[in-house]
Symmetry: C2
């Protein structure tokens, strides 16, 4: 892909962006986070038990700890020698032929080997009447019966959900090594862009690309460390970029990459080794990339729909994978209306699921409202020129 000449395929450009971003993140070591903050992060290593679980022999029920021999024949009445609550130590050793009241989770006294659940008992003064026999081991959780020290509880690469967080706490971790979270800088360019909450002057419009890209990157598991805008001044863009490079693993830009006279991204990054050209897709044809000493700058075109489609096709898959999020898979779906496509370009149409199939909203690059209303991206191959109503097409979830 050279300045405006040859056209690369979508797949080739996606592979390039994937490699650049992975390489950038691979330079960072793991983060260490408290277990309270580990949810949604990805385990850097296998997480092994630091203690046995249970760490002591304990009761699975509220009831009476006994020796099984003493309850072999029932009904039987036993002396109650005390109470063991959760959080107590085990207390004195069990005296065979007696019972000790015990709560769920409390340590089973040494020498006792079964627990009779309270439902099968009746307190009679200082004694207990046991109505049902229990075998040795019943309702007793042995030390290490769930997990032994050193067992892998959560394998490396697992995205930590609530149940994993619970497990790593239970086995003794207070903090955990997790994969670094990709730090993304979002730089929207365009002399016409103004921030939300300001009054746009003549010829100006609100920058929606910056908020869109930032929200998308966060949804895909990245951390957005820089959100900024640049005018079309080369000095301004260079300054914004140099600041972003100090705080991010990857910089994503929008705008300034096509054929106009004031293409600030191309003008500044071209001389710094950037490559700008066309990818065979619509919308989103003009694309660029630059490797600035290991920090990739991925440059999308500036039309709002082109920007978001570029993000979805080139950035989303690698961001989700790095965050341990499942890949989004395409579905087959029926088109309600016939559509046309440009030969030689892979076309992505905004679509909406309806009971009758997918309706599309045309190929324009600027229709913010139709993008908000869409819920799928219809993916038409490069060689497609017409798709009749009722045909099956490939759609990606938005």
């Amino acid at each position: 892909m050279t300045q405006g000449h040859s056209t690369r395929s979508v797949a080739d450009h996606a592979a390039l962006v994937d490699r650049l971003i992975r390489t950038a993140l691979s330079r960072r070591g793991p983060d260490t986070v408290a277990v309270e903050d580990a949810h949604g992060r990805v385990a850097h290593t296998d997480l092994r038990a630091l203690i046995d679980v249970p760490s002591f022999r304990n009761s699975q029920m509220d009831g009476y700890a006994v020796d099984a021999a003493a309850v072999a024949e029932v009904p039987v009445e036993l002396d109650v020698t005390g109470v063991v609550a959760a959080g107590d130590d085990g207390g004195d050793a069990h005296v065979p032929g007696t019972a000790r009241k015990i709560m769920t989770g409390a340590p089973v006294p040494r020498g006792a080997d079964a627990v009779v659940p309270v439902e099968d008992t009746e307190a009679v003064g200082g004694r207990v009447r046991i109505g049902r026999s229990r075998r040795s081991g019943e309702y007793v959780r042995e030390q290490g019966s769930d997990v032994r020290v050193g067992d892998v509880v959560v394998p490396a690469g697992t995205r930590l959900e609530a149940r994993h967080v619970g497990a790593i706490v239970a086995v003794g971790h207070a903090s955990v090594a997790v994969r670094p979270r990709l730090r993304v800088a979002v730089v929207a360019t365009g002399a016409e862009l103004v921030a939300p909450g300001t009054e746009p002057g003549p010829g100006c419009l609100y920058d929606s690309n910056g908020p869109t890209l930032a929200a998308a990157a966060i949804a895909d598991g990245a951390e957005v460390t820089v959100r900024t805008r640049s005018t079309d001044s080369a000095e301004h863009f260079a300054a914004v970029l140099d600041d972003a490079l100090t705080r991010a693993d990857v910089v994503v830009t929008s705008g300034g990459v096509s054929m106009g006279d004031f293409e600030v991204v191309r003008d500044v990054l071209g001389p710094r080794g950037g490559t700008f050209g066309h990818v065979g897709m619509q919308p989103g044809g003009p694309q660029g990339w630059t490797d600035l000493d290991g920090t990739p700058v991925i440059s999308f075109p500036g039309n709002p729909v082109s920007t978001l489609v570029s993000y979805l096709i080139f950035a989303r898959p690698v961001l989700r994978d790095l965050a341990g999020l499942p890949a989004l898979r395409p579905d087959d779906a029926i088109l309600v209306d016939a559509v046309r496509s440009i030969p030689g370009k892979r076309q992505f149409l905004r679509g909406r699921r309806t009971p009758g199939g997918i309706t599309t909203s045309g190929p324009g690059s600027h229709l913010v409202a139709s993008l908000a209303a869409a819920d799928v991206l219809v993916d038409l191959p490069e060689d497609t020129t017409e798709v009749p109503a009722g045909a099956t097409v490939r759609v990606w979830p938005l």
Copy 2:
């Protein structure tokens, strides 16, 4: 459901918890958040355009603004009267028969009605040679052609994804009214519980329920405003609870609800109007609920698997719905091994998807490791007693 007597169905208890939590949240008004923070929140009202988009007539391409009549016959050479860049005002009115160089997004001069893309032109000194004819309106985006002031861009109830954030910024919003986010207090109880990072004494274990419930509630779109633990002391629990009530819309407790002598949640909340009893399920039978002046306290049993299954069955659906997250749907799946179930109880088994079907890890309430390794919950109806290997069962994603 009264103290330990009748048994309620899972569906009845789920409906009760759903109603309590919805009612509690309904007392709060909408939040107003900056558009930068709106991602993942749910629109409180229809979001309408505050401005037209585009807000001014502009060029869809880099090229030359002309009057279509002047390029009706091509090739033709026209005088170039200047340049209009993005962010400029429209400049002087167009003089018919001339051209003005124009950049994508720049205002089209009054009187010009078409843009000839740069690819179809050639600069010749101070003039431009136009090689292709364009009709009136081509490559000109009229003011309001995408959205008109007052149009609904995002309907009430929409969970705001990146594309919605972009749209609401584009139509002029700097902040947005969103549904309040449910504030959840998580209170784990048990004399035996210690915090991660501390050394457990004899008979003690790490509190995994608190971190698990907090992570799950966050994953399901809630805000966790309180994470705390209580011993089995009534004074301590009452103090922890009263603090939690000031900072949360709903309090979720674990432990202290069953048949033992030291059931702090039941002992404290019973006299304050709480209801404690059994729900016909396994694990997770003992359940409680209390309405403290409109703040519900939902009380789950304390065994780690029982706690999480209770959360998944009773809290997750309503939390996800309030956060605008899609409902999780059950699948049908094949069981690898035969399983038994207790008649009269709806049973939830931890299961794991394998190429041959679902493997299960038994009904025990304490197996943290098997829960971490599970990825589905197998849902066996109340009247089931045995399911043969190869049978189809209903499974819920974890």
